[in-house]
């Protein structure tokens, strides 16, 4: 294709087009900067905050290393040490690793996909602020001595009320609350963004591998985080209201926690690793100056790693007394997940072999990554072997393994990415990379390699001291020296950033590495001037002159058609242009909502119920304000020409709308949580034995009441359907009235079931059976509350004339979620009333 032929838009561009675009995407200045929502700014803030939290957690690890240098040391006393290692682990996993890779995605994806922005910029900004505020308080808890001290895995009964009476454990359970929220918000943003905000022509088969990795990452969050969400809810219910989910004396089972936690916790490792691997798959081809060998294999491997990693959570529970055949299933599944990882490693080697690798700093970090990660992967296969794990489990061998995997698999790629992509965000590059690399590479190996030996010599994890005479001294001294060396590397890295990193969008040379992917197009706050038509996997290599064309505005949507921030929406598989979505600009609502959310959870931790409720109300009000003003703007103008013969609408309803997709993702999250509720019920049934589930003396209500409940709930869905038909014919007040009727029906159905259960004498505190049933009730009533807010919101919008036969995205979204809630309620009724009755097996 020659530069002048068949480009979507002709030259010259109309006067003022670029200026209008720049004006619309202008960054808020001064103290208003906190209202910024642009993903390239939020991405950098996000990454910086994650890095800061990482440094905090590293400081904690240095304290631990100092304490363990010699046996019987007394720098930290036992109780403090336990808080320190708990906060270190929790912070590294929840406050650093997941947010950092999510931030990398939020920062890079719009650029790589040549999108103006991801679809829900306020959502990611909200997620960032909630995370940043909550994270700071989480660290502060150490200074008050109320930091959690039950380990990042928080096993009950140790973390139950009896053995952890203080608020330390609550800090963990509620502190994780906003991390969960922000992770899921980010996942929604990334899934919808990757699937619907790609440039025209970028089919799934032409996506950058990093986008594949982020897509798999986000889908994994959707299925993994619900397990830990439910687990934290259950443990908090047990702690606050004495519902015995994990207390064996009352029918609970401590292993329930472990299943739920590791169903999240194992995929978590891959959630952290896959985006990093995706980054490596971008850096290696650029550094080797050649295409990624085995693109299809790598994409397949990413997907395969993603789903297979859900089959090995028991991997962490080999010593819990589970029958050896079950252990062997999980051992085999752990082997299976090693294969796709091997595919990626060999794909990188093949790519390096087929190009001319340049030994620049990012390349050094990639080689360091391969060295450390392959070693960690091999010890990973070792601990997948059940009998070996029985020896290695919960010793320093595992500490060594997991740090090799996480530092090798995530930190080194992240640093490779930092040095690789820094020119994108900063005018100049970073300079001390080689020193940072060698200090960290040497330091990390010196810190963690000896731990393999210490573990096999009998040093358990999570010990604040160890006796002399076990032969552990040498290995611990080496580890502490290594930690010091690594710390020097980190200090140097911070110095490099402080001295040489100056935030700006794009430097003078827009493609210093001569890479082939779109983030190296000339960038402004709006990303690329025009959105390119893509015909290959490496557009900057295969489409000569693309940068100049894009910069000149010769591709799609070279300006703003509505005078607002817009982004191009394309179809999920083929990336055919579909519509122009208006995205929100800077605002205060999401910041206030984030403060409210963080305040809600923090106040709840210290049991200031009224203050917590006030914060919650503020958060809710802010979210409603933001939705009211920022979403469902309606057809603000008619279809617009974006070039290339495409005239696209600015407003669509139904299945093509981005909001619809977001709700579908949210429903997957919710559905998975409900799946975990069902798992809880079935697991406790198995654990108690069918004969004591329900326990003797407890009877369920007759089937009449649940049948009426089911009918009322189902009727509610029918009324919503009816209201949809009425809306189509232009009804307004009738729609509002029908929605209120539907809400009343749903409320009546759920209320009746709750009442029947209570009157039958089932209590949540007596036995895990009741606790499990009321956990189901809790989840259903939470949804009733959400539906109530949604229904009132739509009714209010109808009253304000903001919903009608044409402008109806708010209504559609609520209707879709309503059907989900009804379906979930019916499933919940079946679980409560039919499951134990029908399960008279044997």
């Amino acid at each position: 294709m020659t530069p002048t032929q068949a480009l979507p838009n002709p030259l010259p561009r109309p006067e003022g087009e670029l200026e209008a675009l720049e004006e619309v995407w202008k960054r808020p200045r001064g103290w208003r900067f906190v209202t910024v929502v642009n993903n390239n700014w939020i991405g950098v803030l996000y990454l910086g905050t994650a890095g800061l939290f990482c440094v905090f957690a590293v400081i904690l690890s240095l304290l631990m290393r100092a304490q363990l240098t010699v046996g019987g040391n007394d720098i930290l006393e036992a109780g403090t040490y336990n808080q320190v290692f708990t906060v270190h682990g929790t912070a590294m996993m929840f406050l650093f690793a997941v947010p950092a890779v999510e931030a990398l995605g939020v920062y890079l994806l719009p650029a790589m996909l040549a999108a103006r922005d991801l679809p829900f910029p306020r959502l990611s900004a909200y997620a960032f602020w909630a995370y940043a505020i909550g994270g700071f308080f989480f660290f502060l808890s150490l200074f008050w001595g109320v930091a959690p001290d039950g380990g990042w895995f928080m096993y009950p009964p140790l973390t139950g009320k009896e053995y952890s009476p203080g608020i330390n454990a609550d800090f963990w359970l509620l502190g994780i609350g906003f991390i969960e929220i922000s992770a899921i918000a980010g996942a929604i943003e990334i899934i919808v963004g990757v699937l619907r905000n790609r440039p025209p022509g970028m089919t799934l088969g032409r996506m950058p591998i990093f986008a594949w990795a982020m897509l798999v990452f986000a889908v994994m969050i959707v299925f993994a985080f619900p397990a830990v969400i439910l687990a934290t809810i259950l443990l908090e219910l047990e702690r606050a209201f004495d519902w015995p989910f994990f207390l064996s004396a009352r029918g609970g089972d401590p292993l329930l926690w472990q299943h739920l936690f590791w169903f999240f916790g194992h995929p978590e490792v891959y959630i952290i690793f896959l985006p990093a691997a995706g980054a490596v798959s971008m850096i290696v081809p650029a550094m080797a100056g050649t295409r990624l060998v085995g693109y299809g294999l790598v994409a397949t491997a990413l997907v395969a790693t993603g789903f297979l990693s859900f089959g090995l959570w028991v991997h962490h529970m080999y010593a819990t007394g589970i029958p050896s055949l079950s252990l062997a299933f999980f051992s085999a599944a752990s082997f299976a997940v090693a294969v796709p990882t091997g595919v990626q490693v060999f794909a990188w080697i093949a790519t390096l072999a087929s190009g001319r690798p340049r030994m620049e700093v990012p390349m050094l970090f990639v080689i360091g990554f391969l060295f450390i990660f392959v070693l960690g992967g091999l010890t990973g296969v070792m601990v997948a072997v059940v009998p070996f794990d029985w020896q290695a489990h919960d010793t320093y061998f595992i500490v060594a393994h997991l740090h090799y995997v996480l530092i090798g698999g995530m930190v080194f790629p992240l640093l490779a990415g930092l040095y690789y992509w820094a020119p994108l965000a900063s005018g100049g590059g970073l300079r001390y990379g080689r020193w940072v690399f060698w200090l960290l590479f040497g330091g990390v190996n010196l810190t963690f390699f000896p731990m393999h030996v210490a573990g096999l010599m009998g040093m358990p994890r999570r010990v604040w001291t160890y006796p002399e005479g076990m032969g552990l001294e040498l290995w611990n001294i080496l580890s502490t020296i290594g930690a010091g060396v690594s710390a020097l590397g980190i200090v140097l890295l911070i110095a490099d950033l402080a001295k040489n990193f100056r935030m700006s969008s794009g430097g003078t040379d827009s493609n210093p590495h001569k890479a082939g992917s779109l983030e190296w197009l000339p960038q402004g706050n709006y990303n690329t001037r025009s959105i390119p038509l893509i015909t290959s996997r490496d557009p900057l290599w295969d489409q000569p002159g693309l940068a100049a064309q894009v910069e000149a505005g010769q591709h799609f949507l070279p300006g703003t058609v509505s005078g607002r921030r817009e982004t191009l929406v394309t179809s999920a598989v083929d990336a055919a242009p579909q519509y122009i979505a208006i995205v929100p600009g800077p605002g205060w609502a999401h910041v206030i909502a984030a403060v409210g959310t963080a305040g809600f959870f923090l106040a709840l931790t210290v049991q200031w119920v009224m203050i917590s409720a006030a914060f919650g109300a503020v958060a809710l009000a802010a979210v409603l304000y933001w939705l009211w003003t920022g979403t469902d703007l309606g057809p603000v103008r008619g279809p617009a020409d974006i070039g290339g013969g495409y005239t696209l609408p600015l407003y669509v309803t139904g299945r093509d709308n981005l909001g619809w997709w977001a709700v579908v993702v949210l429903m997957l999250v919710d559905g998975t949580v409900f799946g975990c509720v069902a798992f809880t019920h079935i697991f406790l049934w198995l654990s108690n034995g069918p004969e004591s589930w329900p326990p003797s003396g407890t009877t369920l209500p007759g089937l009449m009441a649940p049948a009426i409940s089911a009918a009322l709930v189902a009727a509610s869905a029918a009324v919503v359907m009816l209201s949809d038909a009425v809306l189509k014919r232009g009804g307004r007040w009738a729609v509002a009235a029908l929605l209120l009727v539907a809400l009343a029906l749903l409320g009546a159905g759920m209320g009746l079931d709750l009442q029947a259960l209570w009157e039958a004498g089932v209590r949540p505190t007596a036995h895990a059976f009741g606790a499990s049933l009321y956990a189901n009730q809790f989840w259903q009533l939470l949804h009733l509350g959400i539906i109530a807010v949604m229904a009132m919101y739509v009714v209010a919008r109808i009253a304000a004339g903001l919903v009608g036969a044409v402008r109806r995205v708010s209504f559609d979204v609520v209707r879709l979620f309503w059907f989900y809630v009804v379906g979930q309620a019916l499933a919940g009724l079946a679980l409560t009333h039919l499951f134990p009755r029908g399960a008279g097996v044997a």
Binding site: A319, G342, S354, I367
Partner: protein
């Protein structure tokens, strides 16, 4: 005696696990060197060799075929090993049953059937005869603990409300260290124990000594009186006396054990005194109070002398 080394084995299963570990390390080393070798060749090799590595078939060979072959072999080997680990000793006596109960932060050890209508109870030490299968039936009274005797076998978790079993066998007499490996609270680090494997006659002799109730010769009457006055019997049992509480360890044969405070200190009259006087200094957060303010010097010496004499 303080060794807790995985390779310092004392029985057949410990040997098997150590052999497995060496196998894994050897195989892992070969693979590690191979992958790094490929990487070096990819970076610096001759152009012809690099072209071979740059072919997608190399990814299939190295990334799929090789791991599938290696891991299938490893899977089959592991399954064989898993069977072997469960097998009882051929032609041996029926296994000996010992119950171990984890507490924050000590171990209760019970030998069912060794006394009429019950069994002897000790703490923080498991005595076993050599050459015989021993089934450890483990559980916990409060939080989750995990029992680990690296010389003999891998870990088994002790979970409240659940009884787990691990069969161990020692081939050679000797003392070995074990430790709690599931984080169980403040003093998880100081929750160790000793395993003493003895020849069957020595084990029987030990058992016979343990069966005897505690004796109080006249020179220890004062110690016993101090024990009574200080209220020690509110938590501890001493068989042969009126005290039968089960909150703390059974002290019937305290002086015969190798350590005090669950592996915290060696056992002797001095450390018993130190433990009684300052349990909260030595192991802050454990459930035994410090008695330094309640006992004067002669009282402390008397009670520790009596307890030390119980063997």
């Amino acid at each position: 005696m303080n060794s807790q080394n995985v390779f310092d084995t004392a029985g057949p299963d410990g040997d098997r696990l150590a052999t497995l570990a060496w196998l894994l390390f050897g195989g892992g080393l070969i693979l590690f060197v191979a992958v790094l070798g490929f990487l070096l060749v990819a970076l610096y090799g001759a152009a012809r060799v690099r072209r071979t590595l740059g072919n997608p078939r190399f990814i299939v060979a190295g990334g799929i075929v090789m791991p599938v072959v290696v891991l299938t072999a490893l899977l089959l080997h592991t399954l064989g090993l898993a069977r072997a680990l469960g097998l009882p000793m051929p032609g041996g006596e029926p296994p000996l049953r010992i119950e171990v109960i984890g507490h924050q932060f000590w171990w209760e050890v019970r030998y069912p059937g060794t006394l009429p209508g019950g069994g002897i109870v000790t703490a923080n030490e498991i005595r076993i005869p050599t050459g015989r299968d021993v089934v450890l039936e483990v559980t916990a009274s409060d939080v989750i603990h995990s029992l680990w005797i690296p010389a003999l076998h891998g870990k088994i978790d002790m979970i409240p409300g659940l009884v787990n079993r691990r069969t161990i066998r020692a081939d050679r007499p000797g003392a070995m260290r074990g430790q709690c490996t599931e984080f169980c609270g403040t003093q998880h680090a100081l929750m160790a124990f000793m395993v003493v494997a003895e020849t069957p006659p020595a084990y029987e002799a030990w058992l016979d000594r343990q069966r005897l109730p505690a004796a109080t010769p006249p020179q220890h009457e004062m110690g016993r009186a101090v024990f009574a006055a200080a209220g020690c019997g509110g938590c501890h049992a001493v068989r042969g006396t009126e005290w039968d509480a089960r909150i703390g360890p059974d002290l019937t044969a305290l002086g015969g054990r190798l350590t005090i405070g669950a592996g915290t200190l060696p056992m002797n009259e001095g450390t018993i005194a130190g433990w009684i006087a300052g349990a909260q200094d030595l192991k802050p957060g454990n459930r035994m109070p410090s008695f330094a303010n309640a006992l004067d010097g002669p009282e402390l010496r008397a009670v520790s002398a009596w307890l030390e004499s119980l063997k």
